[in-house]
Subunit: 341 residues, 2 copies
């Protein structure tokens, strides 16, 4: 394991992206979010992604200076052409567009296509909540990794869904989860760390469940959460984020790797007075976190809270990178002729 | 088991609701949808619900002649006060309102409160697809049945999500699933039929998983699909269908049993030309249903297809009711002094 201060790690990643020709502003945004994922305890969306982005720049599917453009604009609806920019730049633009529209009209639906990998959705929906708005976001793509219910070949992406709501108490209330039982990023982390799987979440290429995370990378597949239910949910994400927006699906011929993005943003007082909304959000928080606990559970966290605790810890103690991730990163630095700080 | 022709069963249920003072139009709608659930193979949302609705009328939480009212009306947004009518009447009104708005403005978001149990969401989202629109629907309430992740006491409802999309090929493409691993309705069916559970989906009142469906009715709880992921998803449904709309949550003091309703309806060509949308929907269907199958799987169904096959079968062979359901129904008929046909 390599322990590194988050500021140093971020500077190093910025230097790599700058060396690859990215706009300094884009390098800063992307490096900042990758390191934030590490701090949050999500190595799956952390600096291990630098290899993917550098490869994307080299192969031409990621344009590190491109600026996304709003190509359809109506009072409550917009469509963003990501221009194959960094996914973080595209998702940020889509969310900012949705926030501006929701502020005006109460409700906004914004879709984006031609985007690369956006990272954790948390970072975008949280932006809406910080602007006192409710946000729902779904992304397809980045696969196919996941077999639909009954299948052994991969058709679906990891297809995450995220949601954030403002709270009078200033609480972080952010849901952000994959609709697959396990993500490719997590399987990579398990593989690097030699962890075996304790649930039926990976099939080998013959369609048999296995506890070996490496089976996924050898032609295997993951499965959706909740069997046919999660398979349907993942299908909704493919259709809304992929087909509806025009980003298309990772199982389609000619698909270019990345994420389709669908965002919905709403004013919290669209349907009822703000004080009633706020009261009930607080009540719901209390009901969930104050429920009777299962044996062995010390505290019931609301979604988003464990990550906050991780940030506080790792900011102080430094980011822990496994050897494979660290070696890959230093290798990229050498390729780019960047000196690591 | 009792085998009964669907037409006769529907007439009998209509007679019960009429005897309870319902508007004939409401009796016909509700009885029709309950029998359709039986035909679809969803006994959990079938005529076993008559007891619940009759009790609702008796206790005053269900007004069998009430007509829902649109109480807030903007170009893309409406709020419906269900007036404690039959949930089916409220959900139908909300969906019809959303369909009319989406036709005008491309996008509609409609919420409803003061609704009783709406039954299967399939029936409403399908209406949008038949009107050449895309629909997403979520309902909270009807509980609490489900323990949030880490808890053993119940805070969440079954909280279903449904989605329908029109298809050029005239395919039924309807997703409709609970966000809980098992529904109260299904547990009732398992209990009536003496079925044991083969997955960890029910905890007894002490928070231990059990294979006995009756443990749920003795103070136990069900769990969300996909552990913390489904728990977050169910939380989204509580907030959007319950708190946002003002229907509130089943864990709150003073909550009146029923469903909070949140509907989003969109024109399929809002973001891209209709022919491209239709092509990709067909392609997605082919990719999912044409994937390599797991051992023992003869055919990969798209969501909504197995139910269609059930309807064809049961319409011909008659509806199969378990003894407990049939005895409950004849008992209600006697109470209402209705002669069963």
């Amino acid at each position: 394991m390599k322990n590194i201060a988050p500021e140093i790690l971020e500077q190093n990643v910025v230097a790599i992206f700058n060396a690859m020709g990215a706009t300094p502003e884009h390098s800063a945004l992307v490096a900042g979010l990758l390191v934030k994922s590490e701090l949050s305890g999500y190595g799956s969306h952390g600096v291990g992604r630098v290899r993917q982005y550098v490869n994307g720049i080299k192969s031409g599917i990621l344009d590190p200076v491109a600026v996304p453009e709003v190509v359809m604009d109506r009072p409550s609806v917009a469509r963003v052409d990501g221009k194959r920019a960094f996914g973080q730049v595209v998702a940020r633009k889509a969310m900012e567009t949705a926030i501006a529209k929701a502020r005006e009209s109460g409700l906004a639906m914004v879709g984006a296509f031609n985007s690369n990998h956006v990272g954790r959705l948390t970072d975008y929906v949280k932006l809406a909540a910080e602007n006192d708005l409710v946000a729902l976001m779904m992304c397809n793509g980045g696969g196919p990794n996941v077999a639909a219910h009954g299948a052994r070949s991969k058709v679906l992406g990891t297809n995450p869904i995220a949601f954030a709501v403002p709270s009078r108490e200033g609480r972080t209330m952010v849901m952000d989860f994959a609709t697959s039982a396990v993500t490719e990023g997590n399987l990579r982390v398990f593989s690097n760390r030699g962890v075996r799987l304790d649930e039926k979440v990976v099939m080998d290429q013959d369609g048999h469940f296995t506890d070996d995370p490496n089976a996924f990378f050898a032609g295997g597949a993951t499965v959706p959460i909740g069997r046919h239910k999660g398979s349907a949910l993942s299908g909704i994400v493919e259709i809304m984020a992929g087909i509806f927006t025009g980003a298309r699906c990772s199982s389609f011929d000619g698909y270019v790797d990345g994420n389709g993005i669908m965002i919905k943003v709403m004013q919290p007082d669209l349907f009822r007075p703000r004080s009633e909304f706020d009261d009930d959000i607080e009540l719901f928080y209390q009901k969930v976190t104050g429920a009777d606990r299962m044996n062995g559970v010390d505290r019931i966290y609301f979604p988003g809270e464990p990550e906050l605790e991780n940030v506080a810890t790792y900011r102080q103690e430094g980011v822990q990178l496994d050897d494979a991730t660290w070696e890959a990163l230093t290798g990229i630095a050498r390729e780019c002729q960047v000196d690591f700080g």
